[in-house]
């Protein structure tokens, strides 16, 4: 069997295996893995929201963790303190992330490095609120006992049910995300990434499009935040930490470009380090730091990028081999 076919088969098997794992995780018998899988899905969605700006628009946001946290806190507060019905609480959570995105959207006026620094500082604003406004957010204690979502008499009663709910919502929004990046609007963002001046010359209002992309990104981050609050059932300043934004930015790069899968592959590794490696290695942040450094220096195209490169190279080798065989056959005739 040729290398290329082996690689393709490996890819297919990995995909099928991922699908099977996604389906049967709750039946592995350990709620730890179910919770972990749910978090991977949630942070994968957050990573997609970052990627919309990062690789599709050419802006590197450091505040998506803030949208995530605003949504999570909103849901937690409405559910715990005011007993608001889940659908309204969830919608309010997403909306609050969107409103925050509309305000923080002023940052699209800055570009390049400046945009990174400005969004980082704005994200810290939310962190400041979550730590300092104890009367609102519970301070370092956070908000506990967030219930699973319910609709009238229908109520999610277990982690297993919650897991499938998360999987459904994440898949739905991932498909929606794909529609967004394939739409004419999404393609115009790629144009802005490649050359702002060209897009301006073509008559696009670049700033408005960047602003809209920013707000869409905040909405996706908000969905992830809502799911987080319901799944983890506890929201603390850790949700608004800068590290969430930073790690969500690394996920799509680590996973690789081109598809929505990259973000989730990256999420598996980052969430794995954070939740599994941290269980047996006290210096685990060093591992996390080394992953950042290694990805940047040796694998800037990510895991899928390396896979694609291998595939392309072995395809080319196969073609060369085929051509050579054909030459030999023709010579023999």
């Amino acid at each position: 069997m040729s290398m290329a076919r082996a690689l393709r088969m490996f890819g297919t098997i990995a995909l099928v295996l991922a699908g099977v794992i996604l389906l049967i995780t709750p039946y592995a018998g350990n709620p730890f893995w179910t919770g972990l899988m749910a978090q991977i899905l949630i942070f994968g969605l957050l990573a997609l929201s970052v990627d919309l700006l990062m690789r599709h628009t050419g802006l590197f946001p450091m505040c998506n963790g803030a949208f995530f946290a605003v949504a999570a806190y909103t849901v937690a507060m409405l559910e715990v303190n005011y007993g608001v019905a889940s659908p309204f609480a969830a919608l309010a959570g997403i909306a609050s992330a969107g409103v925050t995105g509309m305000v923080f959207g002023v940052s699209v006026r800055a570009s390049g490095v400046y945009f990174i620094l400005v969004t980082l500082a704005l994200g810290q604003l939310v962190w400041g609120v979550s730590v300092q406004w104890t009367w609102l957010t519970g301070g370092d204690n956070g908000i506990t006992n967030v219930p699973y979502p319910s609709l009238g008499d229908m109520r999610i009663g277990s982690l297993t049910q919650m897991y499938y709910f998360v999987a459904f919502v994440v898949i739905f929004f991932t498909l929606l995300y794909r529609q967004v990046i394939r739409s004419p609007f999404g393609l115009s963002l790629n144009g802005i990434r490649d050359s702002e001046s060209r897009m301006t010359a073509l008559g696009f209002n670049v700033t408005v499009r960047k602003y809209v992309a920013f707000v869409i990104s905040s909405l996706f981050a908000g969905v992830a935040g809502v799911l987080y609050a319901y799944t983890v059932q506890f929201v603390s300043p850790a949700a608004s930490s800068l590290l969430i934004s930073v790690e969500a930015a690394l996920m799509p790069i680590l996973g690789g470009p081109g598809t929505v899968f990259g973000a989730f592959i990256g999420a598996v590794i980052i969430i794995g380090i954070r939740n599994v490696v941290s269980g047996f290695l006290s210096g685990w942040p060093i591992v996390m730091g080394l992953v950042f450094i290694i990805v940047v220096l040796f694998a800037p195209k990510g895991i899928l990028g390396i896979f694609n490169d291998l595939l392309r190279r072995s395809d080319r080798r196969d073609q060369a081999a085929d051509a050579a065989r054909k030459d030999v056959r023709e010579a023999e005739q």
């Binding site: 002023v106 006026r109 400046y114 400005v118 810290q124 942040p285 730091g289 940047v296």
Partner: protein
């Protein structure tokens, strides 16, 4: 009147520290286009190293110098083997240096532990000092204001009045041109980068004496430096001065007048400024 003066002095001494911290950050960006997210981690590690050296030698001054020199050396290695490989890719540079923050901060945590530690102030800087008008103020923080002012004037004079400063300014404006006329721009980068790292490490010792050193300071400090350079304008020394004063004073008066909002009061002016002048007070569009 006295409380206002006291808050003014608090603001100024904090501004002095912020200037020491952010002037290097902004100059490295101006000259080498390097965004070093590990700047806050440099501050923290420099502070811890200074703390240990003070414990060994008993000298605060040697501690400050040791913190600075150690970080300058560390930075030379990091720059040579890591940062230089990401020049021209801001996104990758940011991620790389964030990776460094994780590593440096965790190493510091493993060595010096998780409890906040205060760097001991030397005898000659302890106690209050009486200022004109019968105002008593902590001697250490007063000396910090003096030091900040001296360094600010020194850096400014170096930057504006000396031939090397002229080359640095030229490098900020047009790197290719400077290297085309035969100036070793790589050496210049190394020099400014070393100065920036030294200042970050030394300010860790100086700041640790009144803000304490604690885990997560690597991020808190980075954010402060970022706000300063965003307000002042990335790459501008004058901007770092103005930004430090603004952030320092807002912080001091904010803590006094609106303690509830102190942690994020300074972000308000930053956002407003962005609307009017996205490149900061003294910055140019990049």
């Amino acid at each position: 009147m006295t409380p206002v003066v006291l808050q003014l002095l608090n603001g100024l001494s904090f501004a002095a520290l912020l200037f020491l911290l952010s002037s290097g950050f902004t100059l490295t960006f101006g000259l080498a286009r390097v965004v070093n997210m590990a700047h806050g981690a440099y501050y923290l590690l420099g502070g811890y190293i200074g703390l240990t050296v003070i414990g060994l030698t008993g000298s605060f001054v040697i501690g400050v110098l040791a913190g600075g020199v150690a970080i300058a050396l560390l930075n030379a290695v990091i720059d040579r083997f890591l940062i230089r490989r990401t020049v021209g890719q801001p996104l990758m540079q940011v991620l790389l240096t964030i990776g460094l923050v994780y590593v440096i901060a965790e190493v510091a945590l493993l060595i010096w532990g998780g409890n906040p530690i205060r760097v001991p102030t030397p005898d000659w800087a302890r106690g209050p000092i009486e200022l004109p008008g019968g105002i008593f103020y902590p001697r250490y923080r007063f000396l910090l204001i003096v030091l900040g002012a001296v360094v600010a004037i020194g850096l400014w004079a170096f930057y504006r009045l000396t031939p090397i400063g002229a080359v640095v300014r030229a490098g900020v404006d047009d790197r290719e041109m400077v290297s085309a006329i035969g100036i070793d721009i790589g050496l210049l980068f190394a020099l400014v980068f070393a100065l920036a790292a030294f200042l970050a490490g030394a300010s860790g010792v100086l700041g640790g004496a009144f803000l304490t050193l604690y885990p997560h300071a690597e991020w808190d400090t980075l954010i402060l430096a970022l706000v300063v350079v965003i307000v002042g304008g990335l790459g501008s020394l004058e901007g770092a001065m103005a930004g430090s004063l603004i952030v320092g004073l807002i912080d001091a008066f904010g803590r006094w007048l609106y303690p509830e909002a102190a942690a994020f009061l300074m972000f308000g002016p930053m956002a407003l400024l962005l609307l009017v002048r996205p490149q900061g007070l003294f910055g140019r569009a990049h």
